[in-house]
Amino acid sequence: MVTPLPSDPAANAAGLSREQLEALYRWMRLTRTLEERLVALYRQTKVVGGLFRSLGQEACAVGSAFALERRDVLSPLIRNLGSMLVKGAEPVEILRQYMAKGDSPTRGRELNIHFGDVVDRNFVGQISHLGDMVPVMAGVTLTFRMRGEDRVGLVYVGDGATSTGAFHEGINFAAVQRCPLVVVVENNGYAYSTPTSKQTAAAQLVDKAAGYGVPGVRADGNDVLEVHRVTRDAVARARSGGGVTLLELMTYRRKGHAEHDNQSYVPPGEIERWAETNDPIDRYIRRLTTEFGFEPSALAAIDAEVGATVDAATDIAEQSPACDGPDALRGVYASQAAMPVQWYRGEAGTAVASHERPAGWGTHDG
């Protein structure tokens, strides 16, 4: 049998230890297995709202987030479930969130993977409005620069989101302020039904870098080691005061925009081609077993372990309580325990009785 590599990073081409190489595989596998579990729950109508997949894009999220330290801040989008796992999000949190449980990270306020943790694990809860996270991350990283903290930020945008004004204002602001920020454009070929060619006339999205005066790098988004390498370099540049880098990761969205989307707009054969010849996990397995001397059995063991993790998390999440209506009125303002409940809730009689009137009411000529 092939002798396992030593844990010395220098010891292999990727500059990663065996544990790190293994971790990258585990995160990608966990991402895919967890999303497949979500599909099952979705079919059982246990998922509330839409379901978004990153099938075939796992390497972008995992490889890039893996280049961050725990203190660094990540801003994920709907296709970046894998990056959140790498940053410490628990499968059970994601399952509870998708099932709108009362103990989900947002207590049922927000959908799918719209949640974060800026206290410990450092990833920011996204909003739906595309592009808005870029200025926000400019501000997060401006803070680190101002306070002289050795921390960087990474924000994802899709090919479609590069068309938004918010993306433009945010990356320009960060570039001028030399914020320690990595902007990852995850180019998966489509924005909902719109191909990238209708989103921009640019030959490649990385061509935008020069216009912001930042270095731009385009990489194969389905090669997790390549993704990790270019992100690691960009993170190092940011950490050393080099400011913003724009990365364009080339990948492909194999599922619809959301689970309901039948992808009627996709040219025949395109999806199948990517699935057969360019699946990031298949490609990584080949490299692990050929270049890095991993035993297929070792990977199979990880798959089993991941499956067990997801099973366990699902059991727990399914037990979670539903949300409690009145909790909806809590947490709008820091200063206020809860919003007052509307006047007509409760008994009409009491409401009438409790309505204030002048002493002389009834005789009083209003």
Binding site: G165, A191, S193, Y265, A322, C323
Partner: protein
């Protein structure tokens, strides 16, 4: 004539107007071959071509601004916001450029900005919004918010032919739940006119959009259980408001409940209450009261959304309160 759904009525209006007037064209995200997130434009690109049903980049300000420019030069653009929540990204363009164009520079700006709005669909804070209040205080705009399939079609036709910019909100909860039988021929439902949904004599509910249907449920229950006769006014157009219709119902029943799905503070009910106060204060036998969403961003989990949004039972309780006052 066969019944069609609310969203089909929207599609018919678009198709008929594009057929009638070559200046009419559609602009929005994923509205072409895909037919839009809710299929409102399905088939239109195949029928009218890529030039008249344009897939735009993700840029709401760009879309609305481009529509304005086209309108200055004789076109009649209809912009789709994939969800109306994203109209906020075009807020500057709409309130500063579009709304003022005619007044400040004699620029014609007949555009329609339409899209799916509203809650009761587990859409969460960014796919459930009711933005009417944000635009109510912008002179130069018109705001339409129909509740029936017939009005959806007739009012959208009116909006497209209107010489002023119109925000046209389509409640996504109604898209497939509500059906209607379209009148034969080219029928317009004029903007600015409310509709009496139901005659009544004891009290009035003034509302619009999805809550019109909750008002109907409440009215029927109150008729059955309390023998109360409730009149319902569907405002249909929010800017300009139909003062005459509001005043008429107040003078008739002397008790008014204003209902909307949007949050209370700063919601349109405030403006309506003020107008009632100014125009027919002396006819009021009880304070004008409001039933609306609670003042929070709309949460997504079913128990939370149900708690925050106005329900039929809330209208029933509020009406009993007014009747007992």
């Amino acid at each position: 004539m066969a019944e069609i759904t609310f969203v089909e009525a929207i599609r018919e209006a678009l198709a008929e107007e594009m057929e009638r007037d070559p200046a009419v064209f559609c602009l929005g995200e994923d509205i072409g071959a895909f037919g839009g997130a809710f299929k409102a434009t399905e088939g239109l690109q195949a029928r009218f071509g890529e030039q008249r049903v344009i897939d735009a980049p993700i840029s709401e300000a760009g879309i609305v601004g481009a529509a304005a420019g086209a309108a200055h030069y004789g076109m009649r653009p209809v912009c789709e916001m994939q969800f109306i929540d994203f109209i906020s990204c075009a807020y500057d363009m709409l309130t500063n450029y579009v709304a003022t164009a005619r007044y400040r520079a004699m620029l014609p700006c007949p555009i329609v900005v339409r899209g799916p709005s509203g809650g009761y669909v587990r859409g969460g804070p960014f796919h459930s919004q009711n933005p009417e209040a944000a635009f109510l205080h912008t002179p130069g705009l018109k705001i339409a918010y129909p509740s029936t399939a017939e009005d959806a079609k007739g009012m959208l036709k009116a909006a497209i032919r209107d010489d002023d910019p119109v925000l046209f909100f389509e409640h996504k909860y109604l898209y497939r739940r509500i059906k209607g039988t379209m009148p034969a021929g080219d029928v317009i439902v004029p903007l600015g006119k409310a509709r009496t949904v139901r005659e009544g004599k004891h009290l009035s509910i003034v509302t619009y959009a999805a809550t019109v249907w909750k008002a109907l449920e409440a009215a029927e229950q109150l008729e059955r259980e309390d023998g109360l006769s409730v009149e319902i006014i569907d405002l249909r157009t929010l800017l300009p408001l139909d003062d005459a219709a509001i005043v008429a119902t107040v003078k008739k029943t002397n008790r008014v409940l204003v209902v909307h799905e949007d949050t209370m503070t700063g919601g349109i009910a405030g403006e309506i209450t003020a107008r009632i106060n100014e125009l027919c204060f002396e006819w009021l036998d009880a304070p004008v009261r409001r039933v609306t969403a609670h003042d929070v961003p709309l949460p997504y989990a079913p128990p939370l959304e149900d708690f925050v949004l106005p329900q039929t039972s809330d209208l029933v309780r509020a009406c009993r309160w007014l009747a007992a006052y």
